[in-house]
Structures are given as structure tokens and as C-alpha cells.
Symmetry: D2
Subunit: 412 residues, 4 copies
């Protein structure tokens, strides 16, 4: 078989070890007669990675071309935490769990391509979703000459039947539970689990209980609230209940708290970058706790000018991450502004977890800007002169008075 014109010579594939990416692995070899390097990352999706190695070997990948890495700490430290400094929410509600993982995977794909002399990378995202955009924008931003292969946009394996036929024809083992079609599609990492498609496609219908995999049903959560304390340094969580932990360890621990109390479920219809609406069920147990806690610590440590600017930049920042522009100058500009604001976001928040909700109930910090002396209903010993408010109001009102006078004048 001769290679197609402009065909890749060597491809680094984002490989999960599952059926779909195994089919892609074989298809790449068949279609392009190219060498395939597999990259399998532990981003906290909760799956063993060893099977992926074995399967890659079985599918003919040379041992030196099999890359398996635990990226959990890098993921949380360099992607999740910077994003949480911004209190980022896409369209008001979505914590961007899938979006934030893609740039890291692309970064490693491109780096492994450089290391192994590959001229292309490949991913298993479809042509309808956001992930293709995120993978590819990140890849091109890091290597403008890289080729990106997106088999789902290219091949003719457009039905379950064809995929399974291809798998059988190529000796790709098919797990029993993959023979039938899954009732929905799942993506998971340390930050979240998302489910979408099929049984979830009608946004009018309640999501079936079995869709939720990462959190207990709030009704099944403990009948007694649990209180925890999260400490922050410069905007990043550093300890739970006084115990210091690494970024990934903290998120893992918060996930367990959230799972137990049914925190972080979201039934959501969102606008994809590619132009359509889509319905997803998101479970972000630890992230939901973390967002609440981060807001809680900012409440006392962040100045209003900084906070309001952050709030006004956040939607744009979240949109950039959602759309796949992590590695873009404008995301980096916004990050510089956000990080600048976090220098004193240090302190501790007390939270109540109970049957699906998390609420801040206390916060304290050496860096607090809260001044009981100023706000008190009691005697403030001269900290604040109430008469200043009169002048403050007069000058804020001046333009409104001039407007009212203009309107009155014109009316006669």
C-alpha cells in the first residue's frame, strides 16, 4: 500500500485503550501506512492505564512508541487551578471540566511528536463537538507545522455496525459491553465527568439516575451536614482541614467529599463553539466545592475594584477556554490580570456540605480587607465619618441631576 500524498509518516495518537481509539490506531496504519505512537495520560479519569499499554502492544505498537504518563499534578496545578482563580463558569453554570483537559493532552502530543520525530498527531473527537477544536487549536498553537488527523471527520466508519466490522476485521478485541451501543457518551478526568448523547438528547426529559456516576444522589447523601475548611494561598487551594496537600491530592479529596454529599451535579444545555446547542450532564464534585470556597476567600481578601474587574473579564475568559483558546495571547493576557489579583487571596474558608449543596459559612485570613471597625453598627471610633457620604452622594448624583434638569427644561 502506498502512502497518500501529504500523508503523515508518523502519528502520535491520543490513545485511551478503548475500542474507538484502538480502531483509530488500526485505521491510521491502514489508511496512511504510517507509524503510530500512542499517548495515554492519567488525568484522573479513574481507569487503569496498564491495559492501554498491553492493548497498544497487541495492536502492533513498538514498546518505545508507547507513552503512558500520570499528568494529574500538572493538570491540576497548571490548568485547573489557574482557571479556578478566575471563578470561571461557561454560560453561568458549567465548570469547564472537559475543556480544560484538552490543551494539556495536546501539549503532550506535540511534545512527544517532537521527541519521536512524528509529523502528526491524532485524536478521537468527532466533527460535531468542541473537543476537536480544542485539541487542534492547542496543537497548532504549539507547532504550526504539525499535521492533525481527526479520523471521525475523514473515515467512512459512520455507523456502529461499520466500526464493529472494522474492529473484527482487524483483530481488535471488543469488550462485551461495547457490542451494544452505550446509552450515552462519557468523558472523565480529575475535575469532572460529563455525559451526553442518546438518552440525554431530549433536553425536556429528566436525565435517568444511572447517568450519574461520580456523585451519590442527594437523596442518598448523609442526613447530617459535614463541615470542612479549605485553605488557600495566592488563589490556590493548599490544605483541607489544616492538612497541606498537593494540587491533585486536594482535588481528589474534594471529589470524595463532593461524591459523598451529592455535590456538583449539573443538567445543562450549552452552546457549542461549532454552532449548535447540546445537552450534557456534568458532575464536578470537588470543583463545585472549590469554586464556592474560592469565592468565599475572595470575599474578604479581594478588593472590590479587582473583584469587579475579574467578574467582568470572567465570561470572556471562560469562553476562551471553552472554545479551545487556552494557548492564545488573549487567554494569557487575561491570566496575567487574574493572577495579579490573587496575590493576597490567602486564608481559610469553612463550608457546609449537605445533600447536594455546598455553602460558605465562614472565612478568615491574615490578608483580610474586612474591617469590623468600619462596618460596625456600634461606635466606630472615628474610623468612618458618615458625613463623607453626603458629599459622595452629591457628586455621584451631579450628572443625574444635570440629566433631570435637561429633561425638565426640554419638556417646557
Amino acid at each position: 500500500m502506498s502512502a497518500k500524498p501529504n500523508a503523515p509518516k508518523k502519528v502520535v495518537l491520543a490513545y485511551s485503550g478503548g475500542l474507538d481509539t484502538s480502531i483509530i490506531l488500526k485505521w491510521l496504519k491502514t489508511e496512511y501506512d504510517c507509524e503510530v505512537v500512542t499517548f495515554t495520560a492519567d488525568l484522573g479519569q479513574g481507569e487503569e492505564l496498564d491495559p492501554a499499554r498491553k492493548k497498544a502492544e497487541m495492536l502492533g505498537v513498538a514498546p518505545e512508541n508507547i507513552f503512558i504518563e500520570d499528568l494529574r499534578e500538572e493538570f491540576v496545578r497548571d490548568f485547573v487551578f489557574p482557571m479556578f482563580r478566575a471563578n470561571a463558569l461557561y454560560e453561568g453554570l458549567y465548570l469547564l471540566g472537559t475543556s480544560i483537559a484538552r490543551p494539556l493532552i495536546s501539549k503532550r502530543l506535540v511534545e512527544i511528536a517532537a521527541q519521536t520525530g512524528a509529523d502528526a498527531v491524532a485524536h478521537g473527537a468527532t466533527g460535531k463537538g468542541n473537543d476537536q477544536v480544542r485539541f487542534e487549536l492547542a496543537a497548532y498553537a504549539l507547532n504550526p507545522d504539525i499535521k492533525v488527523i481527526a479520523p471521525w471527520r475523514e473515515w467512512d466508519l459512520t455507523s456502529r455496525t461499520k466500526l464493529l466490522e472494522f474492529a473484527e476485521a482487524n483483530q481488535i478485541p471488543i469488550a462485551k459491553d461495547k457490542r451494544g451501543e452505550a446509552p450515552f457518551s462519557v468523558d472523565a478526568n480529575l475535575l469532572h465527568t460529563s455525559s451526553e448523547g442518546k438518552v440525554l438528547e431530549n433536553p425536556a426529559d429528566d436525565a435517568p439516575d444511572y447517568v450519574y456516576q461520580r456523585t451519590v444522589n442527594p437523596e442518598d447523601a448523609p442526613d447530617t451536614p459535614e463541615f470542612i475548611e479549605i485553605s488557600f494561598e495566592k488563589g490556590d487551594a493548599t490544605a483541607i482541614n489544616g492538612e497541606s496537600m498537593s494540587p491533585a491530592t486536594i482535588l481528589t479529596a474534594l471529589n470524595e467529599y463532593g461524591r459523598k454529599h451529592g455535590v456538583g451535579r449539573l443538567d445543562f444545555v450549552e452552546n457549542r463553539f461549532v454552532g449548535m446547542k447540546s445537552r450534557g450532564i456534568y458532575e464536578t464534585p470537588g470543583g463545585t466545592i472549590l469554586l464556592e470556597a474560592h469565592r468565599g476567600i475572595e470575599q474578604i481578601t479581594l478588593d472590590s475594584g479587582a473583584g469587579h474587574l475579574k467578574d467582568s473579564l470572567m465570561p470572556r475568559y471562560a469562553e476562551l477556554i471553552y472554545n479551545g483558546f487556552w494557548f492564545s495571547p488573549e487567554r494569557e493576557m487575561l491570566q496575567a490580570a487574574i493572577d495579579k489579583s490573587q496575590e493576597h487571596v490567602t486564608g481559610t474558608v469553612r463550608l457546609k456540605l449537605y445533600k447536594g449543596s455546598v455553602r460558605t459559612v465562614g472565612r478568615w485570613s491574615e490578608h483580610s480587607l474586612y474591617s469590623e471597625a468600619h462596618v460596625t453598627f456600634e461606635d466606630d471610633a472615628g474610623a468612618y465619618d458618615q458625613k463623607d457620604a453626603a458629599g459622595f452622594i452629591q457628586l455621584n448624583a451631579l450628572r443625574l441631576k444635570l440629566l433631570a434638569a435637561r429633561n425638565r427644561r426640554l419638556k417646557g
Copy 2:
């Protein structure tokens, strides 16, 4: 007693019937030798208004100078609902329950001043808070020549003892429970109840249970979730479970749902416009449900371009309301943009209420933009050509590639 220079001749006082505004009523007469008109509004604060009339009469206000009005429908229709079209949250979390009520009160104060020939209005807000600003900016925006009297910024009744002495000296009746100091200060209307001050002044401490007045403790809420459906027309709620209701009736009904399920509690440290941080406990039962529902219906009926623009304008819009600029050209400009976006925000949302939380679980609409044909994992019959995504990504990536090429070139 001769009037002071520039003293008001006739003042319309925002009068609750309580001790503080009764003291103000007497103080105004004493201080300025002026006629006092009282204005008492039912904004849904849950208090009888009749006692206010009797008390005003007893304090010497002429019957024709006593104004008592039920403003609940106007409040919800013209202030609360327009604000909810924006999904307005101040500093990410606060539903602006106090802020949104002040402009309406000022509007009526100014109108009654015009009607009764008064040259001034007066309010009972202190010199430390936001409410003085909101009352006064609204008043000046509606009548640039109105005088505003803020006794708390002027008088020397600066301690509880002095206030009570003044009350006794002026035959103002003091309810038994007002003899001692309240452990915190409360504001309430149909949208929310806020509590702040004194026992709440340390933001590290949990708020005592007795602070919450409007919602049951989530632990005491029913063990079984309740599902309700809210219908919207052009962004405003119009029906619950298929039953059409007026704006105030809907909010009242949602408040009852929220109360029962412990929904809408917020322990919050916010930045006041006057420059200090302050801690408040907010209970917004119906409003919290309404916000979730409005977001839910927007998810399927609002275009992403419109939605993202709304999201980016929201923080500014919320800040304007918080700071008291309801009657300002820029709030009206933003309202024009927001209202324009709501023309198709029509449909129904299904919500689950359970032990302190409210979650959207379904939504449907004749105006839906959700296209199962486009998003489906199944055969989409040509609705969407996945190959288009390749071009979409290439052109979105072009500038990122040019950046990467520049960086590579410069590095040699």
C-alpha cells in the same frame, strides 16, 4: 422655633411605622419645624400596614398626609422581573434583593412630594450603607431640585440610649422587644430578607440559626424532592405548574416553595459602594428558584451570541443596581439590550427542589433553538457536515499558527 436656613418646608418620609422612622418623623418636625408626609409601602415585607397609619396619626400626621400603598405588583413587574431578565448577580452570588427595592420607594417619594407640594424627602438609612446612596441617587435622578434629608447622617442621636430618650421625651411608643438592642438588623421585601450587623459582624463565625427567618433549615426541609414547572414569556415568569399568575403572585408562590425546601440562603461578604466590606445573610427563596429557571429557559431559547453578550454585560448591570444607578442612562441602555434579547425567551422549565437546592432537570419551548437533528450522535441526515469543522478549525487556528511561526523564527 424658627426654621433653619435652607430647611425643608414639607418632607415626605419613607415611613415603616417602626421605632426608628417614628423617631425620624418627630425629629424632622422638631429639627426643621416642617410638615411631614408619611409614605408606607407594601413591598411584600410581610408586615401589616394598618399600624403604620395609626401610628402616624398618633404622631400628629394629618390624614391627608398619610400615604399607604400596595406596590407589590409594580415592584415585581417593573423592577424585579426586568432585573431577572439579566440573570443579575452582584459579585457572583447576591440577588440584589435590597438594592432593587430602593428606586421604587424613591420614585413614589418624589411623586408624592410633587403631589403634596413637598420640597424634600427623607429616609431612615444610615451613613454607612448603600441604601442612602440608592434612595438619594434615585430621588435626584427624578427631581434634580428635591432636598433629601438623611437624619442618620445629621443628628446626634448616635446611641441606642439617646434614641430611646428621644422617643420617650416625644411620646413615641416603644415596643417591648425594641427596648433592648436587636442582635442584628433586617430588611425585607417580596424578593428577599437580609440580615446584617452585630452578631453577624465577624465573617469567620457561622450565622446563628435564629438569623434565618424566611426559609426553613435545609435539614428540616421535606425528605422528598418536589418538582415544579415554571413558564416564561419573553423572559418573565408567567405560570407555575401551568397556572397563570400575576408577577407578584408568582413570586409569592415561589417564595413559599423556596421557604419549604430551604432554598436561597446566602452567607455573603460583599463590597459596599461606600468602600467597605460587609457581611450579610440573605434569604431569597423565590428569587433563587426564578434565577435557576430563567437560566434554564434561556439555555434552549437564547442564541449563544446574545447569551454571551448578556453574560459579559451582567456584572456591570448588577453593579449599577447595587450602587443605586437604576435611574441612569447606562442602566437603561443595558436594559434595552437585555430586553431585546428576551423576545423569544418563552417556554417552560422543570425544576427539582430538595433540601436547600434547586436544579433544572428539563426545559422545552416552541421557541427552542435546540436542534436534535444537528447534535445527535445518530445519523443526522445531512443537517451538519462534519467536514466543515476542518475549515472552521483551520481558519480559527491561522493566527495561532502565525504566532507560533513567529516565535519559532525569532528563536532561530
Copy 3:
């Protein structure tokens, strides 16, 4: 010849009468065996339209399929003027002369398609530029089922030689000056003339003098300044030197003033929506005067709150127009906000035109918010109490003081 699958049956072509769109006309017939309707609009590009009719007839278009329209008033009234209300500038400098014309052309193409039963529209924009995007987004926004044919992205007439061969083979007359290649490409309408490509492609090189077609060289402009007065009503220009005129007449007159004084030249490198940078020479004589004048009248009639909000929205608004999203919900939302701000932008501006520049030198209005009583260095008779400024500053400073105190405390 049999039609291709999915081929259009009847196409409305944006037809200039020039060589390129004549070739497209023939190519459409050849390629798709379809009926062609031509649409030629007078947008003030300064060309006779009669030759277009004759040429279309000669190329076999049925008389009832030839549409020639003078759209100048609609163009200025419904597109240019609304845009100028926003003071729109793309990337700080470009007055969007090309961008704003495309949606109107598309609107008429789609309307004529409906009228004539055509299932497609076609345009002569290339695959590298912004105009294809603008034409097509507008068309799809107005008719989601319309087909759009963009021959430059489809055909193989990819060189000048091939085009001329096709023209000759199809009996398309070629004007003498079109035999050779033009040294640059031009677009013109009542708002501007743009030139780009070829001799202009190196942004380091001065544009040759002969590129400028619409304005005299400032060095050749009159040695004496000229002063004119432009009057506005609700944000739109309505009179010059006291003489009322229709929108298109005003812009035409301003173009003549600008031409004479060399006003409105711009040598610019911009970012195209499709991802690359491009260099253009723009001449916007009347528009440049209009922008300056509009800013001048806003200076005295627009409140600062409204003005600053407008300023902050403008870049997004300009980007939307540049990118082709005129017919989008978010542009309409912004327009609603902008139009709301213009209710009192009524009055007159005096301008000085001199050798390439236009400057506001005076402005007056019944709607003015300028208060000499407040601003005067002389005695202001109590209009403004300077002591208010102390309180204003104290409360604006409060958070900054709390920040400084925090920083001092932490440093020990």
C-alpha cells in the same frame, strides 16, 4: 449538460457589470446549467449602472431577471447612520466602509431570490477575504435554506490567464484596461473607497500616490481652512450649514468637503476575520468628518455614564460588523443600547477642515448637559459645593486605604 447533484436551479448574482462578475455569470450557467438573475446596486460607488444592464442582457439574462436599484438612501439611513451612532472604529482606526455595505447587498439578494423563486445567491468575493463571510452570514441569517455560491472558492480559474481565456471563450467583452492586471484591487461605495493587494502588499512601503482616488493629497488641498457646521438629531446628521438634507445627500456633500481638503486617508494593516493580516488604503472623506462631528455633539449632549458604556461596547460592536454579524442578535442588542443613548444627541458642531485633518472647534445644543454654572472658575452661586468633593474622595479612597493598611500590616 445535466445539472450536478444539489446544484442551484436559479441564482441571484451580485453583479457589477465588470469583467469578473460577468465571468461568474457565465460560469454559473455553464457549471450549474441554472438560470441567473442579476442584481446591481447603486451604493454610491460612482459608476453608471446602465452598462451593467446592457451587459447582462448581452450575456443572456432575461430582462425580467435584471434588477438594478439605487440603494443609497437605504444604505446611509439604515446601515451607515446606525453604525456612526456607535462611533464605530475597527482596531482603533478603520471606519468599516466595506463591511457595512455587504449586509445590505445580501439582504436584497435574498429578497430578490424570494421574489423570483431563486434557490441560491452568488457573489464575487474571494476565499481569502472578509467579504465572503459578510455576504454569506447575512444571507443565511435572512434565509436559512438559501444556497450561496462563491465561485472563487470553487472554480479552477485561478490565474489571470485562465480568466481571460474563459472570458474569450464565452464572448465576454474585455475592456482594454482589464487586459493587464490592475496594480491593486478596489472597493467603493458612498462611505469609502478601499484599495488593497499587489503594489500595496508590503506594509513597509509607502502607498503610491496613484492609489488614492477619492481625496486630494493634503499637500494639494486649499491653503485656507474651511469651516462647516453639521447638525444632528438623535445621533444622525440632518443638516450642513443649516441646510437640511437626506442621509445620502449629507454623506455625499461631506464626501465632497472631505475630498477637497484631503480628509480621511488611512494606511492600515488590519486583522481579517479569516485569520491573516492585510494592508489596505482607505479613503473615507465624509465618514471621517461625520465621526469627528458625532463625537463633538456627543461631548455636550451625552451623559458620562452613557458615554463610557458606549465606549466600552464599541470595540465589540465594530468587530461584529467587521466580521459580518450585522444580522445577529448580539449586534441588535448592542444597537438597542446605542440607539437608546442617542435620544438627546441633537445639536450642531462646528468643524475646521484643513489639509488632511478635521477638528471640532465648537458645539452647541438645546440638549446640552454642559453647565457653565457648575464648571466656571468664577463664582458659581452655590451650584456646586466644593466641600462635597472631600467626602467624595474619602469614600472613593476607603478601599485603597484598607488595601494600603493591609499591605502595611503584612509587612510588619
Copy 4:
């Protein structure tokens, strides 16, 4: 004379050596019986500083309490240049020449107070303007406990006559030309000269020629254009015509170019932070050239994502500087974002200066993102595939099509 309660013990006065600040110097001593330290800075206002020293001595200031400093380099390097990185314009036109100088003066006042053990600073700005706000916010942000004395808001020297009487009574020499009232008020520094008040107070009237002090009338400028080249490194100007210069030297040189060619005049009505409109005549010769040049170099070196974000942040950034919030967290956040964007804003711009205008006519850079290969009308050798544009447009259009389909469906 006994000091007033809370009176300052030692005050650092921003002292120009002119009549007004000399009166303040004496008044401070008289009013507060305090020690006075004078601070006179050379910010490029074009006045000799030696007379200020002599006059301070004559008015009884101890030599060790007289501070005279040349701050021109610090002014341009740390204030003007960072601001120009943002292309900052207040209300679309004003280059913020006065605003940007105030924080530096306050910074030195506060530092000298710390050095000399003073507990207060004083300035000569009135209670109607912005400068009082800028001086004081900066001072409080740097030292929360500093007292600020603003004599114009306190004293009763409210007329020219009273001021002159006070001067005579206190042996303060009065220059002959100060006996009468100046026809307008002037502020100057290396960036600009502003004139306002009195003869300028009617914004309808042309400013008299004699108001302009810093630039020749364009009619009197040379009849031949002059071309210059400005080089930038990371957003800051570093050379003119290839000659490297320090920041202040560059601005000084550009001022001379601008002066000669009549560049940088602005007749402007602006919105003061304190709520009123005011009319000023600004001359910013070098700054106007610098802004044009900076935009020119950004055109080829700045990515569109970064540039559009900058454009959208600019109005807020300019407003912060205008309002006096230079030393605020939000200005620093924006600066961090802006500075991040300037890493590659390096290269050279060629400008044409002619009779009042400055225009970019060429720009080039090693850091250029302009790709002739992509943009060319000629064969681009595969750099860009025009077919990608079809997919790009289809996906950008998708939501617009869904909107149009919804609207069509609802209309029946």
C-alpha cells in the same frame, strides 16, 4: 497661635513657585502653625526650578525642607510609556496628559513625607476638578494614614481680590502679569499642555489662537511634509530615525516634531469624575505622534486576539487613569494584561507629519505577524486553502441559520 485639633504638624506641599502655591505655603503656616516642606518637580513643564527654591527660602522654608527634583525620566518611563502601551484615550480623544502626572507627584509627596517625618501633604488643586481626586487617591493608596490638605476646599480666599490681599499681607511677591486675572488656566508637563476656564468656558466658541502655546498653528507649519521613523521595543519607543534615546529624550524630541508641524491640538468637552462637563484645549504634540506610531507597530506585531482584547479593555483603563486610580489593584491588573501583550511589539514605524496631522505610512519588524504569503492576491503556494473558508462560514452561520429557522417556524 495654637494649632487646631487634628491639625497637621508638618506638611509636604506640591510647590510650583508660583503665586497660588506660595499663598498656600503661607496659609498652611498661618492656619495650622505647621512646618512646611516644599516639593517642586520638573516633569517637563518648561519652567526653571531655581526660582522656586529661592522663593521657598524667601517664604521661610528651611533649606533642608526644600526638595527640587527632575522626574522627567521616571515620568515617561514608569507612567507615560506604560499608559501608551494601552493606546489609552479618554472618551475617545483625550491623551490623559494631566491625569498621568498626578500619581507621580503624589508618590514623591508621600515618600518625602516619610523621609522628613511629615504627617500631611498638600496640593493646590481646586474642589471642582479631577486633580484633587488624583492627588488624594494616590496619596491614600500609598499611605493610608497620611493627611491631605486641599486649601482650595477649606479656605475663604474665594476671590482673586482676597488672594491678592492675603499675598500682600504676607509679603508674597506678585509678578506683574499675575495682578490681573489670567484669561484661562494652564497645566503643563512633558506630555502635554492643557488650557481651560474663562475665555474657554463656552464650548460653542472657537478657542482664541493665543490659547495654543505648545504647537504652531497648522496653517503656519511647514509646507513640506516631514517623514520620521520611530522604533519600538516591547511596546516602548526607543529610537527616532535610528538614534536610540532615553524615554524622556524621545518624548522631548517628538514634542519638537509635533510643535513644528502643528500636531496634537484637541478642543474637547469631557466628563469630569466629579460629575460635570468641562471644556479644555489640549496640546499633546509628541504624544499624538507616539500614539499613532504605537498603533502602527501593533498593526503588524500584535495578534488580533490580543489586540481586540486590548481595545475592549482600553476605555476602562483610560477611565481609571482619568479618575485617579493609577495606584489601584484593577489598574495594575489591566497593566499586567497589557504588558503581557507587548512582548513582541518591537519594530519600526514610518510617519508623515504635515500641517496638523500625523499618519503612519509604513511599518516593519522582525516580529511581524504579517504574512504576504497568506494574503497575497498572487499564487500563495498552498499557504492558505480557500476551501477552508466554506467550512469556517458554515459553522459561524449555523446558529444564525437556527435562529432564522426558528423565526420562520414561529411565523407559520
